[in-house]
Amino acid sequence: MSLATLLQAHLWTTMGPLFVVGMTAIVVMVLELFLPAASRKFIVLLAALGVVVAGVVLVHTMSVPPELSLDTMVSDGLATVSSMLLLATGLLVLLLHLDVNESEEMPRESSFLLLFALVGALAMVTAVNLVALYIGLELLSVSSYVLVALRKRHRQASVEGSMKYLVMGGIGSAVFLYGVSFIYGLTGQTSLYALAQASLSLWQHDAAIAVIAFLLIVVGLGIKLSLVPFHMWTPDAYEGAPSSVAALISTLSKTATFALALRVLVYIFNGGAHDLFPYIAVLAAITMLAGNWLALTQHNLRRLLAFSSVAQAGYLLIPIALFGTASVREWPDLYDNLLFYLAVYTFLTIGAFAVLHLLEHHRDVTMADGLTGFAKKSPWLAASFIVFLLGLAGMPLTGGFVGKFYIFTSTVQTGVLWLGIVLFATSVLSFFYYFGLIRTMFQSPLPTYGDAAQGQAEGRTPVPVATGIVIALCLFGTVALGVVPGILLHPLALVQWF
């Protein structure tokens, strides 16, 4: 490949944000190494600035038609929209990190890892080549493994969580890659576009191997997406991770992995979609059921949120499962579904983790019982938490309702109504624990005995500025997407997805 072709390859259009974030990451890494601990705040802000700049670049990208560079990176609808979401997520996480960094006494080399995770995530959504996708996936994963282990306050849980994440993630990567290797073997291609063209013949000639490859890929991604029964690392990792990292792995890596899964599965396997995607449907159903069911009896707040995110992953999987029966005309609908709900989910989850962080740090609350009297002591914070929980439960006036309803309409449209029914039925199951938390917040505190006084510190919970901004933004996002969903839905309607 000559230099000339390289230059003609619209690198900036496809990889601009990635470059910016990557460069920021390196700068931040270097600075973190040399600057004294006192200027950590500045460094995190610098990282956030980099993300903002990347966002600006991305907006610029959106104004030009989709490009493909190096047969690897693309700036199609899915790439740009998910990149936007990822950058927004990254920004929120970084802001949250600003405060978490202080309170959790994390080692300073954390901001750049967040940025590298973001780079990986961006690569996952922009790449259309299996090799690049894999690199992105691993970049994100490895950064996350490290990040999870960085929580000093609960050292052991942190390391253990990270260890479990790493082992399971490693197995997942291997399984995923093993599946991918068969695809490569059958077609000799790693470019998704080429694979998409070969998809039908792949299915017609080598159905057996294709099924195995499909399942391996699904299981590999399932581990990353924490789908049931591959989800079991999730609560432990969430419990161990610093709050900002927990927010990161529950949102950023989910968004990126879902986008990747959508691309990989749909591009490679649409030839046999009718036979293959029902597996995903079943997986989605099991995930929704088991995720909610597991959260039902959970009292540890982090683990509860972890299981809830498992369940939410089930909801998010529905649009992908629907590709099995959807006609090409209906595909954009499924993209819309997925991205809209991902956006909603991101706001809800980061918001919830932000509140949870304050609870943990300032009131030393880890269990649901600790929420007793929360509503009375910190009404605004409690109100925000309630909004996030209502959103997760899919109540109207939050984006959760619109998102779920939208996914549901797609299940009806594509004739997989049973999945829609499971969606709403398990939502009712989730009422029990989401509203259970709300209920606890309004309980008056019980008389306390010695150590049982956990979380019942007097007075309001102080809200640091950065976290406050995060909560406010998430609140705004949640409510805006519920009250005026058009602000996201209408742009989504215009996106040329593929």
Binding site: M163, K164, V167, M168, I171, V175, A207, A208, V211, I212, L215, L216, V218, V219, G222, I223, V228, P229, F230, M232, W233, P235, D236, D275, Y279, A290, W293, L294, A295, L296, T297, Q298, L429, F432
Partner: protein
């Protein structure tokens, strides 16, 4: 003219409203305003009666739309025909006397305003019922009079018996009302209107039918259902149980509602629907037999009752049975005639009994009375007039009307009915003179009470005297001498259509027999209780029969053991099901979800390798399924 008819019920309504809202004013005010405002009603009622008499066959009708159903409109308003006009006179006339009497009777009661507002509401409802242009409005006020009865029976609500009796009166009549309700709706749907004037015509044309029931059956079913309503209201067998208990209310109330007017509404209803009833032979037979059996049955019970009001209450049941009997055998005019006379003499008996009770400070037990003739002469003579009327002794009112019924039965040749009626007539004469003797004759059985006994002042005696006159002379309205004035009046109108006069000549035989039977009854009573003999020992041969009668043939007990307890049992069962089964199931579902959640929770062992194993199992299951699918198994 129709405006007049409209005004008739409005005066008592006005009086009721005034009484209700000006509670603080003294009792005399309420009594006065009630009586005064009822005077125009009485006058208008009489004017209407005369008007209808002057224009035979006229039907005054004035309606406004009340509710528009998708299939037709329902109207409310007034309708006056001969029957209505007669009823208006009866109701307003008896009411005004009772209003007067009440003040004497309840002078010291502090809730007199409530009493008068209830009573006025009752009169209004009764008048509106009578004036109803269609069956639905009739039903509306049918229930309203029931409500007023409930309220007045429960007037002394603090007495547990009164509270129970009030509920019982409402619930038992409600059973009948349910039948009436069904009947009205069936007819309404079949005919497309609630105007009952059209029903008999439709029935005769054979167009009265439902999708699931053809014409003759529908008429029979509907009339039987309506008759159930009448049975409930007029306390006929087997729904008579509420009326004796309703005597817990103030005595004037018993006189007005439970003797003269409301209980007669059942008879009025059957009379009103007579043309339709006449279309169904089955119904007519049922009506006649229910009436006859009730007449006898109630009079048998009345023989042995200890409570003066209960005796008269059973007598009412019995007399209403006569009216039903009359209607059932087709003697329409005679039935209504008996209603007319009965209203006077029975109101009289109640009021006189009330006077006695008032004099004795509230006691109603015959065993504590006696010898009151001298202390309360007006009461005695008026009561005697009533008793003679009730016994059917010439020339008192009851003689003419009761004999007309028996004569009609005889003329019809239905000997069973005739005999039932005759035996009842004998019992009637016996039990009422038993009361007369026990109350007024002989020596006082309780000196204390006797010493304080006195007449109740002019507000009480004037109504008694007026009613006494009517009880004596009202029968002359329908005698062969005046060419059966009332019968002609009633049958002259087109609706209800004229029916053949039940008998057209002097039924001397029948008159003689019933007079003789009545005198025998009185004689027996005189022999047993006359001359202050007081209660006789019952010969042991009659003991079981006596007990049977004394205990009202155990009807209440039967109901209590079957319907009431059955219902309560069922209710308790439902309660158990609800509290334990359904609540339990709800909890079980909750436990199920929670339990499964807990089981699932134990899979989170904290061991990485368990996690991996679960993932592997998942993969393997998928692969196995895939293999089977490729192999065509799934």
């Amino acid at each position: 003219m129709s405006m007049l008819a409209l005004l008739v019920p409005l005066f008592p309504l006005l009086a009721g409203v005034i009484s209700f809202f000006f509670r603080r004013l003294p009792g005399a005010f309420h009594a006065t305003i009630s009586v005064v405002l009822l005077i125009p009603s009485v006058v208008f009622a009489i004017v209407l009666f005369l008007y209808v008499h002057a224009h035979p066959g006229v039907v005054l009708r004035q309606v406004i739309p009340w509710l528009v159903l998708p299939s037709f409109s329902i109207h409310v308003g007034i309708q006056v025909n001969a029957l209505t006009a007669l009823m208006l006179v009866i109701v307003t006339f008896v009411s005004i006397l009772v209003f007067m009497f009440s003040y004497g009777y309840l002078r010291t009661d502090e809730r007199l305003s409530i009493y008068y507002s209830y009573l006025n509401l009752f009169v209004f409802s009764m008048l509106a019922l009578v004036l109803s242009p269609n069956l639905l409005q009739l039903y509306l006020f049918w229930e309203m009079v029931g409500l007023c009865s409930y309220l007045l029976v429960g007037y002394w609500f603090a007495k547990p018996e009164a509270a129970r009796a009030a509920r019982k009166s409402f619930v038992v009549t409600r059973i009948g009302d349910a039948g009436l309700f069904a009947g009205i709706l069936l007819l309404g749907f079949a005919a497309g209107t609630f105007n009952d004037a059209d029903y008999s015509i439709l029935a005769r044309h054979g167009t009265l039918a439902l999708p699931w029931l053809s014409e003759p059956y529908l008429v029979t079913l509907a009339t039987l259902l309506i008759f159930i309503g009448a049975v409930g209201k007029s306390a006929q067998l087997p729904l008579h149980v509420w009326l004796p208990d309703a005597m817990e209310g103030p005595t004037p109330v018993s006189a007005l509602i439970h003797a003269a007017t409301m209980v007669a509404a059942g008879v009025y209803l059957v009379a009103r629907e007579f043309p339709l009833f006449a279309e169904s032979h089955v119904t007519m037979t049922v009506v006649a037999y229910v009436g006859a059996v009730t007449a006898l049955f109630a009079s048998l019970i009345a023989i042995t009752q200890q409570d003066i009001k209960r005796v008269i209450a059973y007598s009412t049941v019995s007399q209403l049975g006569y009216m039903m009997l009359a209607l059932g055998i087709g003697a329409y005019a005679d039935g209504v005639f008996h209603l007319f006379t009965h209203a006077f003499f029975k109101a009289l008996l109640f009021l006189a009994a009330g006077s006695v009770i008032h004099a004795l400070g509230g006691t109603q037990d015959l065993a504590l009375m006696g010898g009151l003739r001298r202390k309360m002469p007006i009461t005695f003579y008026t009561f005697l007039a009533g008793a003679l009327a009730l016994s059917g002794i010439f020339p008192f009112a009851g003689f003419w009307s009761k004999d007309a019924i028996l004569g009609a039965a005889m003329a019809k040749g239905d000997w069973v009915l005739y005999l039932l009626g005759l035996i009842a007539a004998f019992c009637t004469a016996f039990y009422i003179f038993r009361v007369v003797f026990l109350t007024f004759a002989g020596a006082p059985r309780d000196e204390d009470l006797h010493a304080h006994a006195h007449e109740g002042g002019w507000v009480m005696t004037v109504p008694l005297v007026i009613l006494g006159l009517f009880a004596t002379f009202a029968g002359f309205i329908n005698t062969p001498w005046n060419d059966d004035f009332l019968s002609r009046f009633l049958t002259a109108t087109k609706t209800p259509k004229p029916i053949p006069a039940s008998y057209s000549h002097w039924p001397l035989t029948s008159m003689a027999i019933s007079l003789a039977v009545g005198l025998c009854g009185i004689g027996l009573a005189a022999w047993m209780y006359g001359g202050g003999k007081g209660f006789r020992k019952v010969p042991s041969a009659f003991k079981p029969w006596y007990a049977l009668s004394r205990n009202k043939f155990y009807v209440d007990e039967v109901y209590s053991w079957t319907v009431v307890r059955g219902g309560k049992l069922l209710a308790a069962l439902v309660d158990l099901v609800d509290r334990y089964l359904i609540e339990g199931l709800t909890r079980l579902v909750g436990l199920f979800f929670y339990g499964i959640g807990n089981v699932l929770r134990y899979t989170q062992t904290g061991q990485i390798q368990t996690y991996g194993t679960f993932a592997l199992v998942g993969l393997v299951v998928f692969l196995v399924v895939a293999v089977f699918r490729v192999g065509g198994v799934f």
